[in-house]
Symmetry: C2
Subunit: 516 residues, 2 copies
């Protein structure tokens, strides 16, 4: 029996932000979730899917795997054990230090770096025309780049996890770049940063904080403004909801009404069993909330991968997948129950190829404590809510107190919701950076619900927003395919042109200073 | 009996960088210093004088003293005790948040913040014309801003000291500014940074790393390039030496020859006693090296305070003090010994008012472990050497190994000589920042030996170098006096104009965005 948990082709969604939300402010569902003694671990916006597994992918690109000994804390002189940071490197196309061959450096995000390398074909494909070296460093506390010798020790408690921060990761990158350059006598070679999602946030922050280390950054789908009060907390779910509404108002309404139907059903005698059957779950549902989260994930991901062409992008989906989901929901015969419609709709997402017999909704984190949950509970505090009018999700307000309590119970850590904006900024970003900084591309597909908290306006001549109307979550970073629409081909061409401009300017200034 | 140790008017030199060097590569003196089991603590370039004491100054400026609870480690989530950061604040001239009243923020350096406040009259004096608030925050681990409740615990060992870093200090400033602004509803008010010496380094780095927190920085006498191989290590002593040579070649030669004379004398029977007498020391000299260091300090300070007008700046000195020292050395009757000439010369520096009866050459650090020594042994690794041809000091090469050994013996810490340039940059600064960053003034007096490792060329239209030919160490930050020469009056006027420009631009951009 195939289940959604073990079917890799269906579950290759790791490169995407995924939000799973608490519905605790939605009274009926809240009462369900409060049955659990342990607080839900789903109150924090996530980047990678809870229901996703690493792809069983063949290695497509050639690289060497190396390890670099990193300080655990760059910002103090505490005596702590170093850890091995894994990085993938390919120098085959590099034209070398004499010709100032560029270094293309992907800012590894929250997962195994091999997955990111395989799913970031753009960097591999353009490196030869630039004569560039390619480096994919892994983010600390993920994949094999584990402090304290093992994930069990590294993830043991708040003390061992305490160095899992964005700032430390950026310092890892900076130190690694300088050491690589020194070893290759490549001090003068320009570094260009790449990153998608959280990796895109890292790339843009790195360019701002380490301008002397990298000459520019392509930050794709980087929601660097999803902090504090910079954007309204309902932004994300409003965009998801609008993506459904623009396809079909009745589909939107069906989903909007389904949450109450779900709760009613769950409260009946044998209600959880019935829901288990309706949704073809592999095991009996424990609580309605789990199913609600599973549905929420599907809608959120659908909005992220809502590309206008058929793609085996993260999972095989038709073009305009939301349109297909809504077509299914709307087209079922009169008299079909709301929940049956919902099931058939999300099956487009979870089971487009039809190979899944039953679904696992309570996919457990294989590590018990999850790295991103820690990051969300410490620095990456991204307020999310669901509005009464625009959203098709259960209405809920952002509740910082209960979020904070959950973090304390799960990790014994107190979040610092103002730290990211203190360290990296975000408020008033246009005024702040108008005459400061340079060479950052913020690339966003406007269908992507994360685009609402990224930079969508040019900040200056060289900090530019590259928006694609029909684009979704950082598709530009993926390998080119024969089916790419024109706008995507053009988007990548523009990115290449901008990067060429950075490198040419760098060469000219180097020369100017040399001959001065 | 007055001694140089207790005479505050003579010893008010705390705002100055002071270099005290090891002479270990100078064979004859090296053999002396190796007699000590404990390594000399004088191998590290220092900012504040070993022979200086806090001034017994009356408070000239009005401010409230407040304390802010700071995280000990901003860059991890380790559970550590917070510490109270002291800051001085005056809001009397502030025009308030509605009128976007600026916040003038001095980046406190390695000492009691009250000393810096008293000695940075420029900021106090210009605040009213800007309607600005004035804030002087203290640097962590100095003055009253002591982690772990007391200096004894804070300075106990490498573990407790490990959070004494520039990066943590900058984060303190950023967090404090954001909290102050929030409490005063002053989020939109522009912050302008000020700093001299190490504080100037902090100010410029802060503007680069926290552009969203402060709109500009006046970094006076900030030798941010005195790291690794960015400037030649002999820069400092060459400038000191040239300052003497340009006044008098014979004076320069006398000093250059005096080191051997010193060693010969010290090696004789009763040599140390004779030196004690010749130099009017309060207590019998332990080793020649101590006297050499004391002389070195005098020459280095003289170069820093080599102002063209009589000043009671850090201590009462005549105008062109090096000219006066050389005049004294050169004018003594034929037959006067070299060492007698040297003594008479440095007396201009250590005893211009004639009130000192005997001198203390081995001024001990009152805290045993000294904060700046820690910083020099960890991040602030500033290579220094003395060249054979240009320098009047004993020739010595920079010896990183012995430096590192000394740090291990003194603190059980391993220096990270590449960290500052990784975190803040420095190499190739012009190319790196040409199109990056804005609104920094690097102010330098070219007579200041530290100017050789600061930024002396404009980097861009808004990162500018303001050099004064006759200026020395950050005199521009001090209160105006009736004796200020025209160039100093003009320098300050230019600084005010530039700062006005930053603030006006900020107001205009705020308006432009508001009405967009």
């Amino acid at each position: 029996m195939a289940t959604a948990k073990v079917k890799p082709t269906i579950l290759v969604v790791r490169l995407f932000f995924l939000v799973t939300i608490t519905l605790s402010s939605q009274p009926s569902l809240a009462s369900q979730s409060s049955k659990s003694n342990r607080p839900s671990s789903k109150w924090a916006p996530r980047f990678l899917g809870r229901f996703s597994q690493p792809p069983n992918q063949q290695q497509q690109y050639r690289y060497e795997t190396k390890y670099f000994s990193q300080r655990l804390d760059h910002f103090s002189f505490s005596e702590l054990p170093n850890f091995p940071q894994r990085y993938l490197i390919n120098t085959e196309s590099w034209v070398g230090p004499e010709r100032l061959g560029p270094i293309f450096f992907y800012c590894g995000n929250e997962g195994d770096i091999e997955w990111f390398a395989e799913n970031t074909g753009f960097v591999w494909e353009i490196a030869p025309r630039f004569g560039a070296m390619v480096v994919f460093p892994e983010h600390r506390y993920y994949g094999e780049s584990m402090p304290y010798g093992s994930i069990d020790v590294a993830y043991k408690n708040a003390t061992t996890l305490s160095y899992l921060t964005a700032g430390q990761a950026l310092a890892d990158f900076a130190v690694l770049i300088r050491e690589l350059k020194r070893n290759l006598s490549a001090e003068a070679c320009p570094v260009v940063l790449f990153g998608g999602s959280y990796g895109g946030m890292l790339a843009s922050w790195m360019r701002l904080k380490y301008p002397h280390v990298a000459i520019g950054a392509l930050a794709s789908s980087a929601p660097i403004l999803q902090f504090e009060d910079i954007v309204p907390p309902e932004t994300f779910y409003d965009i998801v909801s609008n993506s459904f509404k623009r396809e079909s108002t009745s589909c939107f309404n069906t989903i909007k009404e389904s949450w109450d139907a779900l709760v009613s059903e769950g409260q009946k005698n044998d209600g959880l069993l019935k829901l288990t059957e309706t949704f073809h779950l592999c095991r009996k549902l424990n609580k309605t909330q789990d199913l609600a989260d599973w549905l929420d994930s599907a809608y959120s991901y659908l909005a992220m991968v809502n590309y206008p062409y058929s793609a085996n992008f993260m999972m095989p989906l038709p073009g305009h997948p939301i349109r297909e989901v809504c077509r299914k929901i709307d087209s079922l015969p009169d008299g079909t129950s709301i929940l049956k419609r919902i099931f058939e709709g999300v099956s487009i997402y979870y089971n487009y190829t039809g190979g899944v017999d039953c679904f696992e909704v309570d996919a457990e984190d294989p590590h018990g404590l999850d790295g991103w949950n820690w990051q969300a509970c410490t620095e990456m505090v991204m307020p999310m809510s669901s509005s009464r009018d625009v959203s098709m999700f259960p209405t809920f307000d952002y509740n910082y107190s209960s979020f904070q309590e959950g973090c304390w119970r799960d990790f014994r850590v107190k979040p610092r919701p103002r730290w990211i904006t203190t360290e990296f900024g975000g408020h008033d970003i246009k005024a702040t950076l108008k005459n400061f900084g340079s060479n950052i591309i913020f690339a966003n597909g406007l269908l992507d619900p994360w685009s609402g908290s990224s930079v969508l306006q040019n900040i200056s001549e060289t900090i530019v927003a590259l928006n694609t109307e029909e684009g979704a979550h950082h598709v530009d970073l993926r390998a080119a395919t024969a089916e790419d629409p024109d706008w995507l081909v053009e988007q990548r061409a523009t990115e290449i042109k901008l990067i060429e401009g950075w490198i040419n300017n760098y060469h000219q200034e180097k020369k100017a200073i040399f001959y001065m």
